[in-house]
């Protein structure tokens, strides 16, 4: 990537006004960067940093309330901001193309994949039906999709997430655009799939000389793919430069903080837990039956033969990709669903088959912190009401419960006066703290964290992980930590359980699993983690960064 050739994309001093009532006046302000042909520029930042707004303004897809007020965006020298809607439509697809985060919603479910890719050709070219078909098939082939003929005739729901994203990339690249904008294209994908898609984007970009503007929040992905990095914070660029320089020797304090917050793949050393056994499952399984009177019954085994043990004060992680059954196991143990077979021993009681009536007194023992901080608190009730609900159910007086709730709010780092507020007045990280306070109010022995930090920005994620560690020590909690993120698992888990297709494939102390993975699947997971060598944790040594 020579910097001397004229850039594909130039963004100069871009400023976009936010409608009134926002937390700042401008969504982005004074943003300038360029993308050269054959170069991958990663724009990284946390949520609300303005990285997606920047990408959408390049495509001319900004929501109408957002108005560019200053600056210029030039695509191959042509100003995009002043282009007419007709001209923009011609530019999109022809000169620039975009791929989105969620490939299922970006594809039309009632059209075949082939039709959707051909549509681009129909609109922008004069090719005949035969040529179009040939071109699409060649493109699908280039995307390493199996059996292009069959793919061409498939509907989106018949493909896997990774295949759909490949189709999106095929549709984006079929006209050989000079610029490809990728907005978090791998965030919704499993790590192994993510690795393949990143490799594909690299390959396509190298072969065709496409300039890529890659939006992501994940420093692992940045380390994996970026030639140059642009770091954004609150609508402004705080730092930009070649990837090796920004990642290896960050100058700005925000960049340093972000990089330091990324959990490393090196497991933390943790004292061996010696607490009493809190939970043990044996032969735990859950299967779903569908069909009925006239349809053939089909059985899906979501989890099978799961045996795990957690001690007080110990964190056991269950890692796996989507569909591995890790959440099913968590929900069975929490008894949000009834397991089909096996035992769940809490103390000396098997709760696997207890009816709700007899289960209720035991509900205190196990509490859950859910993934989505925006949906795990009832939006119509104050935070205080949510926290005291459980203790009051178990006979604590409302006054005592409220007093305890105030203590817990300070413990999780929030102002006790905020108990009277509603969930929408808090940020995602704050809500997750509240959800933790709610769980702690029940004085549980076992805490299940179901992807509890997955929806959070890295800096917030780090704080919540520290908080989890802190409350674990205070209350001698047994934590079952469900995650798809190996980095997070490496930092917080004493022992790891790796699940694939509903079964445990590997189990052992975290350090052991990372250092000497026994199962092939575990090795694949670890290898697929983006920017595997990246992330030196808290101490930024200015050593060289992997190529």
């Amino acid at each position: 990537m020579s910097a001397t050739t004229s850039p594909v994309l130039e963004v100069e001093n871009l400023a976009i006004a936010l409608p009134g009532g926002g937390d700042r006046l401008r969504a982005v302000d004074g943003v300038s960067f360029t993308v050269a042909p054959g170069e991958i520029v990663c724009v990284v930042g946390e949520s609300g940093s303005g990285k997606s707004v920047t990408a959408f303004s390049v495509m001319g897809l900004l929501a109408r309330v957002l108005k560019p007020v200053a600056g210029a965006i030039r695509l191959l020298g042509e100003d995009v901001l002043s282009a007419s809607p007709q001209r923009l439509r011609a530019l999109r697809g022809d000169r620039m193309a975009m791929i989105f985060q969620e490939p299922m919603t970006a594809l039309n479910p009632v059209l075949t994949v082939g039709d959707q890719i051909e549509e681009v050709l129909r609109i922008h070219t004069e090719f005949g039906a035969k040529e179009r078909r040939a071109k699409v098939l060649a493109m699908l082939e280039a995307m390493h999709l199996p059996d292009p003929e069959r793919m061409h005739a498939s509907y989106p729901h018949q493909l896997s997430g990774g295949q759909r994203q490949r189709v999106m990339i095929a549709a984006a690249l079929i006209l050989d655009p000079a610029l490809l904008i990728a907005d978090e294209p791998t965030t919704a994908l499993d790590v192994t799939t993510q690795a393949q898609i990143l490799k594909l984007i690299r390959e396509m970009q190298a072969r065709r000389g496409t300039g890529v503007l890659f939006i992501t929040h994940d420093f692992g992905v940045v380390a994996e793919i970026a030639d140059r990095v642009v770091v954004m914070q609150r609508g402004r660029i705080v730092e930009q430069g070649p990837a090796a320089q920004v990642l290896g020797n960050p100058q700005h304090s925000y960049t340093k903080m972000l990089i330091a917050a990324v959990p490393t793949m090196t497991p933390a050393t943790r004292p061996a837990p010696k607490g009493a056994l809190a939970l043990e499952t044996a032969g735990l399984g859950k299967s779903y039956r569908s069909g009925g009177l006239f349809a053939r019954t089909r059985t899906v085994q979501a989890a099978a033969d799961v045996a795990l043990r957690i001690r007080r004060g110990e964190t056991v992680g269950i890692v796996g990709e989507s569909g591995s059954g890790k959440s099913t196991v968590a929900r069975c143990i929490a008894r949000l669903i009834a397991p089909s077979e096996g035992q769940i021993m809490v103390g000396d009681q098997d709760i696997a088959r207890l009816p709700e009536r007899r289960l209720r007194p035991l509900r205190r023992t196990i509490q859950v912190v859910f993934q989505d901080p925006f949906r795990s608190l009832n939006p119509r009730r104050t935070v205080g009401a949510s926290i005291v609900e459980g203790p009051v159910n178990f006979g604590t007086s409302p006054a005592a419960a409220t007093a305890r709730a105030r203590e817990l709010m300070s413990l999780v780092g929030l102002d006790p006066a905020a108990l009277a507020r509603y969930p929408h007045q808090f940020s995602g990280g704050q809500r997750q703290r509240i959800a933790l306070a709610r769980a702690l109010a029940m004085e549980p022995e076992i805490l299940i964290a179901d992807e509890a930090v997955s929806a959070l920005d890295v800096s917030v994620q780090r704080q919540v992980l520290a908080l989890l560690d802190d409350v674990q020590r205070r209350f001698d909690l047994a934590i079952l930590f469900i995650t798809h993120d190996l980095r997070v698992a490496a930092q917080i888990c004493d022992r790891l359980i790796v699940m694939q297709r509903g079964r445990i494939v590997e189990e052992g102390p975290t350090a052991e699993v990372f250092a000497r993975p026994k199962a092939a699947y575990t090795r694949a997971l670890i290898e697929a983690a983006p920017g595997r060598e990246f992330g030196r944790g808290v101490e930024p040594t200015a050593e060289a960064v992997p190529a």
Binding site: A334, L336, R360, P361, R363, R364, I366, Q367, V368, F370, Q371, D372, R375, S376, L377, N378, P379, R380, R381, S386, E389, G390, N393, F394, S410, V412, G413, L414, D415, A418, R421, Y422, H424, Q425, F426, S427, G429, Q430, R433, A435, R438, A439, M442, R462, Q463, V464, A466, L467, D470
Partner: protein, 306 residues
């Protein structure tokens, strides 16, 4: 602990209830509709004081007189007053004006009670079907069965089972409306029960009745209010249809429907017996529907913009 106390979001916005009323007040169509309904309600309530005479008094001597016809009425104490039949008389010599005003009582009472009953029963069945899985099949199949029969036909069947009268008519209109409410509530419950906050409440050991009342029921309120207005509007119409068919309210009690039913045979010669109750009926149904639309726009979460 690296979790430093975090800065909280700025001050509380106004509570949802106030801003809801405020948003509704800024919707001119909704305000006008509410005004029309208020006027209709007042008319019904104060019918005896609005210059009416006994709406059931028959006088064969003055049958089918046009609007504006005047006649001296002699009261029991012997005093005589000139009375103007503003909307004329019907084929039995009764005052159409008085009948229309008194008719507002029946029509509005039916609208309100049908909406309330249908919502109450539908809500209960919908909650049960949506949350308690074993009940889902039986309840919903029953509702499917009810929906399979055309509403008017079902209403006729219900009326014919009881002695004709207001309660029978209300029951007849309520029964066909219930399945729609049940379906609406059930679909909301089915999606809300999967929300993590409902699961969190289960983990907190909240008992089923409280769980429903606290975490599930509030989500159904807004759509139910809107549905309620549409049910009210259709109840007024169905009552009119039933009365028109001669199986509704007994003919001596005036309702907009049966006033029109009695006038229909002479409609071409004396249109006023249908025209006036028709105007009232049309205005009321339109107002209820418009109010429902206004409420729907206001309660729509996408419009609420949180």
């Amino acid at each position: 602990m690296s979790a430093e106390p975090t800065v909280l979001a700025p001050a509380l916005p106004s509570p949802p209830a106030i801003s809801l009323a405020w948003r509704l007040l800024r919707n001119p169509v909704a305000v006008a509709s509410a005004g029309v309904l208020l006027v209709m309600t007042l008319i019904g309530l104060f019918a005896p004081f609005l210059g009416t005479i006994d709406p059931t008094a028959i006088n064969p001597a003055i049958r089918n007189r046009p609007p504006g016809f005047e006649r001296t009425i002699r009261a029991e104490d012997g005093s005589a007053t000139a009375f103007r039949y503003r909307m004329g008389t019907d084929s039995l010599g009764r005052d159409v004006y008085s009948r229309v005003l008194y008719g507002a009582r029946v029509s509005l009472a039916i609208a309100v009670s049908v909406a309330a009953l249908a919502l109450a029963v539908g809500l209960l069945l919908g909650l049960l079907a949506g949350y308690i899985r074993p009940l889902d099949g039986p309840i919903m199949r029953l509702m499917d069965g009810l929906m399979a029969i055309p509403g008017i036909l079902l209403a006729i069947a219900v009326v014919s089972l009881f002695r004709a009268g207001l309660p029978a008519v209300i029951a007849a209109i309520v029964v066909p409306e219930i399945p729609r409410v049940v379906r609406l509530v059930r679909s909301i419950v089915l999606s809300v029960r999967e929300e993590p906050y409902v699961e969190a409440a289960i983990m907190a050991g909240t008992r089923l009745p409280l769980l429903m009342a606290r975490h599930i029921l509030p989500n159904t309120v807004a759509p139910l209010i809107v549905q309620g207005t549409f049910i009210a509007a259709s109840a007024i119409l169905v009552e009119a249809v039933l009365s028109f068919l001669g199986i509704g309210i007994p003919p001596e009690i005036p309702s907009w429907g049966n006033i029109m039913a009695e006038g229909r045979s002479l409609f071409r010669v004396y249109p006023h017996t249908i025209l006036y109750p028709g105007i009232f009926l049309g205005l009321t149904v339109l107002a209820v529907n418009m109010l429902g639309d206004g409420l729907r726009d206001t309660l729509d979460p996408k419009m609420a913009g949180r």
